[in-house]
Structure formats: C-alpha cells, structure tokens
C-alpha cells in the first residue's frame, strides 16, 4: 500500500510514468501528478470509481493523449520520440468496442493493425489466424463485427490488438455490459494473452471477477494514485474508494474469479 515512492531502479520498469498530469481545456484536472509503473509480464488491476481518471491515464500510456505535465517512458525512453512504435508495443482495448472496430468482417478487422504495420501478406494471414484461434473467433471469421454479441465484440477488439504483437495490452473495462458467459469468455482470452507472456493492465470496477489472477492492484482516486499493492493487501481498503467489496468476509484470493478453476 505504499504510494509509489521508493522501489527498484527505474530501468527495471517496462513502462513508467513520472508526475503525469492532464488539464483539459475546460479546466478539469483529470489526472494529477501520477507516478505509475508496470514490470514485464505483470498482471495489474487498475481500479477506482467513475471519473477517477483511469481512462485518461491509460490513454497517456500509449501516447494518444499528450500530458500537460510529466512524461511516460517505455524501457526508460520517453515515448514521445517514437509514437508509432509505442502504439505497436502498447495495445489499447477501448471501453466501447464499437468505436474500435473498423473492419467490415471479423477477419478484416483483425488484419487492420498488421496491415498498417505493412507486414507481408503471409505474416498478416498467420497473425490473423493465430488471433482468431486464441480468442475463439474462428467460426465467426466472415461475420459482420457490428452484429456480434457483446462478448464476441470485446474478444474481437482484443484479437485486433493481439495481432499487432504488443508487449503490453491495456484493457479499459472489458467486462462492462457483459453477462456471466461473456465475462468468462473475455477473461479466458485475457488469461491466454498473459500466459503467452504479454503484460496485462486491466481497468475494472470489479475486484471479484478477476482479482485471483492479478499480481498487483493500483487504485486511483480523484486523479491520483491512492493505493498500490498485492490484492490481499488492497482488499481491505476497497470500500474506502467506492469499490465494491467482494461478497463474504473471508474469501480466499483464489476464489476471486468468475472462472471455475
């Protein structure tokens, strides 16, 4: 629960942000002096109530938003020097899958990113097939994305990011609007990515659905990092930050998932 002060040397971080702030033109201070880091291979939950600044923070991490103060570093290098490479290495799955989907079929949508990277045709096909398989979308390859179910759409958005072979995958509320089965399917997909060695940052309100898989939990409150620690430490203070405390007082960490293990 130490609010990110001391710690290992900065070179150890795959990605870190220093004193990151963002003032919107209308005067909102959405994030305020955030220090944040993630290590290679980590599975991190980023939590906090509505409007606490989670979306704004993660949109800085791959350079979509430019900070009004502070800086983001990838392997110790400021990302603003090479935004394109940063965006390839840090994949972002948007809160609203509909705005992320551009292809007119599932197959073409997944191919969109790799095509932009100008990979050759065979490599594109290989990656799209791998993404279809990993996220269980093979039978939908010729379907129109906008007609898919909520869970399938989310998995498609994840597949599109995975096909670019990023180091870090950041998911913004991937469980919102999903039913039980949808949550499980998406969670399976995320875990498959983590097993493949991708670093995962999962933005969520729901400790109960996925905490069992996380190594670290970071809580934001009013634009600042309010807590940072392993899930078993954080669980006790969730209520202080407007996050629902898991049902049942003495739940083991392993039980905090919607997958049967």
């Amino acid at each position: 629960m130490t609010p990110e002060t001391a710690g290992p040397a900065k070179g150890d971080f795959l990605l870190h942000a220093e004193e990151l702030s963002h003032h919107f033109p209308d005067g909102t201070l959405a994030i305020d002096g955030v220090n944040f880091h993630v290590r290679r291979g980590e599975f991190l939950l980023l939590m906090g109530r509505n409007g606490s600044g989670k979306t704004v923070l993660i949109r800085h991490l791959n350079g979509l938003y430019k900070p009004t103060g502070g800086e983001v570093f990838l392997e110790g290098q400021p990302i603003r020097h090479n935004l394109r490479e940063t965006r390839r290495r840090i994949g972002l799955v948007f809160q609203d899958a509909d705005s992320q989907i551009v292809g007119q079929t599932v197959w073409r949508d997944i191919a969109f990113g790799p095509e932009n990277l100008r990979l050759d045709r065979e490599e594109i096909e290989r990656r799209v097939e791998a993404a279809l398989r990993l996220l269980g979308l093979e039978h939908l390859r010729d379907h129109r994305p906008h007609l898919l179910s909520g869970g399938e759409k989310r998995r498609l958005a994840i597949a599109g990011v995975f096909a670019m072979d990023p180091d870090i995958i950041i998911l913004d509320e991937p469980f919102s609007n999903l039913d039980f089965e949808g949550v499980r399917q998406v969670l399976e997909g995320i875990l498959a990515l983590h097993r493949k060695g991708h670093t995962i940052i999962l933005v969520t309100h729901d400790f109960e659905k996925s905490a069992a898989h996380a190594e670290r939990v970071v809580i934001m409150d009013r634009g600042r990092i309010a807590a940072d620690g392993p899930p078993e430490e954080i669980v006790g203070i969730l209520g202080d930050f407007g996050i629902r405390v898991p049902f049942g007082s003495d739940r083991s960490m392993e039980s905090l998932t919607w997958l049967n293990q």
Partner: protein, 235 residues
C-alpha cells in the same frame, strides 16, 4: 442494436461480391451515365441488368422495405413534380431512372467491403498527377463506413425518444432539435473515439491497399455488363 439494412456491406460469396472493386466502380460510372442518357428501349436493357444485380446480391429481404420508405417518398415527389410539369411519361421514366440509380448504389454497398473501395479508388487516383491518392481513398472509405453507423444511430435516437413520448411535444422546432442534438453530439463523440482508436491501431493513410489480379471470369462479367450499358445509350 437497431440496424438499417440499406447501404450496409453484407459479406457473402456471390459473383458480385467477388468481382474486383476496380471493375465495380467503373461499371457504376458507366451504368449511371447510361441510366440518365438511355432511350426507353435502352432503359429496358439496363433495368434488366440492374435488377439481376439486385437479385444476385440478395439485397431484398426482411427489413428492406422499412428502410426503403424514405426513398419512396423522394420517388413520389419526383414522380409528381415531373408529371405535373412534363406529363405522365416523363414522370414515370424520371422516377424509374432515379430508382435504378438508388438500387445500383445499394447493390454496390451491399456487396463491397469499404476497404476494397479504398483500394480501388487509390488504384485509379494514383494514376492521376497532382492528387494525393491515399488521402482521398481513405476519406471515401471512411465516409462509406460512417454513413451506415450514422443511420443506425439516427434510428436509435428516434426510438429512444419515442419511448419518452416525443410525439406529445407539439412544437415542431423543439422536436427537430430534440432529435438532431443528441445525434450530433453522439456522432461527434463517436468520430473522436474512432479517430483515437484508429491512431492507437497505427493507422496510416499511406498504407498501400492490397489488390490481387482479377480472374478471367471477372473480365467476362465486367465486359458483358459494360457492353449492355453502352448499348443502352446507342439502341
């Protein structure tokens, strides 16, 4: 999500789906020209051609008529105004020509992936000097992608307001504002989110589109349709 049927791409395997988009664009232009310049006999030929396109693309199915109602209104306006000024024959042929063009547009958008339209437009434009082909091609296919989304959104806003008894509101100005404002806001929000999402997927308008060489069967389909549309002007 409420979805409008027309002007949406519907993936499929028909011969029109497979026809190279460069051919399709050229045929669109040819057919449109001949629809407006053909004699009555020529118009008959071209109508057969367009209608067979409508059938092979399986354009007509549930929901089609519902979406088509808006166009019926325009059609009847054309019919009325031309009949009143120039007589019944002109009224009929004028609205028939208009109908053919609309159907043609629907067949094209139903059977063609916007990404392919982008590729084809790029392919034609890069032959012309002084034009940034990538730029224009991208804008064309983005517009084609956005139009159906906006149509969908319109329907959703209208339905949401019906459920809140917008009909009870007598003031027409208020009603129009109530319908267009949320649409405008959500479209603006949408386009901003889409732009961000494109950026984060490394979108680059100068990515050369992928085009493969058309098979000989496609040449046949292209040449025969082109022949019909040209003879439509001559006969």
């Amino acid at each position: 999500m409420a979805e409008s049927i027309i002007f949406h791409f519907r993936p499929g395997k028909s011969s029109l789906h497979r026809l190279d988009c460069r051919f399709k664009l050229l045929l669109m232009v040819l057919l449109t020209v001949s629809i407006f310049s053909a004699t009555y006999r020529g118009l008959f030929l071209i109508s057969l051609c367009v209608l067979s396109g409508v059938f092979t693309s399986r354009l007509i199915h549930r929901g089609f008529l519902r979406d088509f109602r808006g166009f019926l209104l325009i059609l009847s306006l054309i019919f009325l105004s031309r009949t009143l000024t120039e007589g019944l024959i002109f009224g009929l042929s004028g609205s028939w020509r208009f109908l053919l063009v609309i159907l043609l547009g629907m067949v094209l958008s139903a059977t063609t992936d916007p990404a392919d339209i982008h590729g084809a437009v790029y392919w034609y434009l890069k032959r012309l000097p002084f034009i940034k082909a990538g730029d224009i091609g991208t804008r064309v296919s983005l517009a084609i992608t956005l139009i159906p989304l906006i149509l969908d959104q319109t329907r959703e806003v209208t339905e949401a307001q019906k459920s809140r008894f917008i009909e009870g509101q007598r003031n027409p100005v208020f009603r129009i504002l109530a319908q267009t404002l949320p649409l405008l806001v959500s479209t603006l929000y949408r386009s901003r989110e889409i732009t961000l999402a494109l950026e984060s997927r490394c979108y680059d308008e100068n990515t050369p589109p992928h085009l493969s060489r058309p098979a000989s069967g496609q040449w046949l389909l292209f040449l025969s349709t082109a022949a019909i549309s040209i003879s439509g002007i001559l006969v």
